[in-house]
Amino acid sequence: MRFMVIVKASKDSEAGKMPGTELLAAMGKYNEELVQAGVMLAGEGLAPSSKGARIRFDDKKRTVTDGPFAETKELIAGYWVWKVASKQEAVDWLQRAPFDGGEEVELRQIFEMEDFGKEMTPELRAQEKSQMERVAKNQKGGK
């Protein structure tokens, strides 16, 4: 099963303050362990919300608001995608993460094809499989 590990934003991350050398080195070491254990599937950091935007959907109406989003407590600063055998394994890995400044990290299980049951028809499954293969090609094409 896969989990999305969501790192919440802090005042520092929202201010664009970069982590110090010590934390970067500890994070590099931690990521290396995740990779070697075959747990890490993806990971990215996000620029502060001041460089982003939100779109709200009301019926046919679209409302775009530029960041920063000071009013929200649930902003995200980055994420990993992990492949593990259980939620407990994900919790165990996360407890070893080199955070120490009051950070909060959320673990959320990712939907897999089999979660959808019969509603996911063979046609939809084939479409999904084909899309994922082509998405992998996009990734190889570089950013």
Binding site: L24, A25, A47, D58, L107, F111, F116
Partner: protein, 138 residues
């Protein structure tokens, strides 16, 4: 440049364990995914089970503490995401506006940090990071 389109479904913070999206919505979503894919902008996408099936880990002075969901204090939670590669934030917003969302849903569009965004001092610690991303297949 890469953008993450973060889906914040209305009231998803209250969703019961095992809640799944409506089949008709899944069908519309697959069409939208297909259009992203055909345009060559789609890098990754996932849907997330409700927070009632998740946990939060808080770190204070190096000590982690775990709290299982649902999270009563949360006013909005993530339901899924797309990672896209486009030429501008405007292009990302154009894609986000075409997503088949329900009334009251929100998509947050956030730029992804790239290697070149960091100063040289930081870059030397990030060497090898690109290789770690998408290192494994599901």
């Amino acid at each position: 440049m890469c953008f993450m389109m973060l889906v914040i479904p209305k009231d998803y913070e209250q969703a019961k364990a095992g809640t799944l999206p409506d089949p008709a919505l899944v069908e519309k979503m697959m069409k939208f995914n297909e259009s992203l894919q055909k345009a060559g902008v789609l890098l990754a996408l996932d849907g997330l089970h409700p927070p009632s099936m998740g946990s939060r880990v808080s770190f204070k002075a190096g000590t982690p503490s775990i709290k299982d969901g649902p999270f009563a204090e949360a006013k909005e939670v993530l339901g899924g995401y797309w990672m896209i590669q486009v030429k501008s934030k405007a292009e990302a917003l154009e894609w986000a506006g075409r997503a088949p969302m329900l009334d009251g849903d929100v998509i947050e569009v956030r730029q992804v940090q790239e290697f070149g965004d960091f100063p040289p001092e930081t870059q030397k610690h990030l060497e090898g990071f690109t290789g770690m991303q998408n290192a494994q297949k599901k």
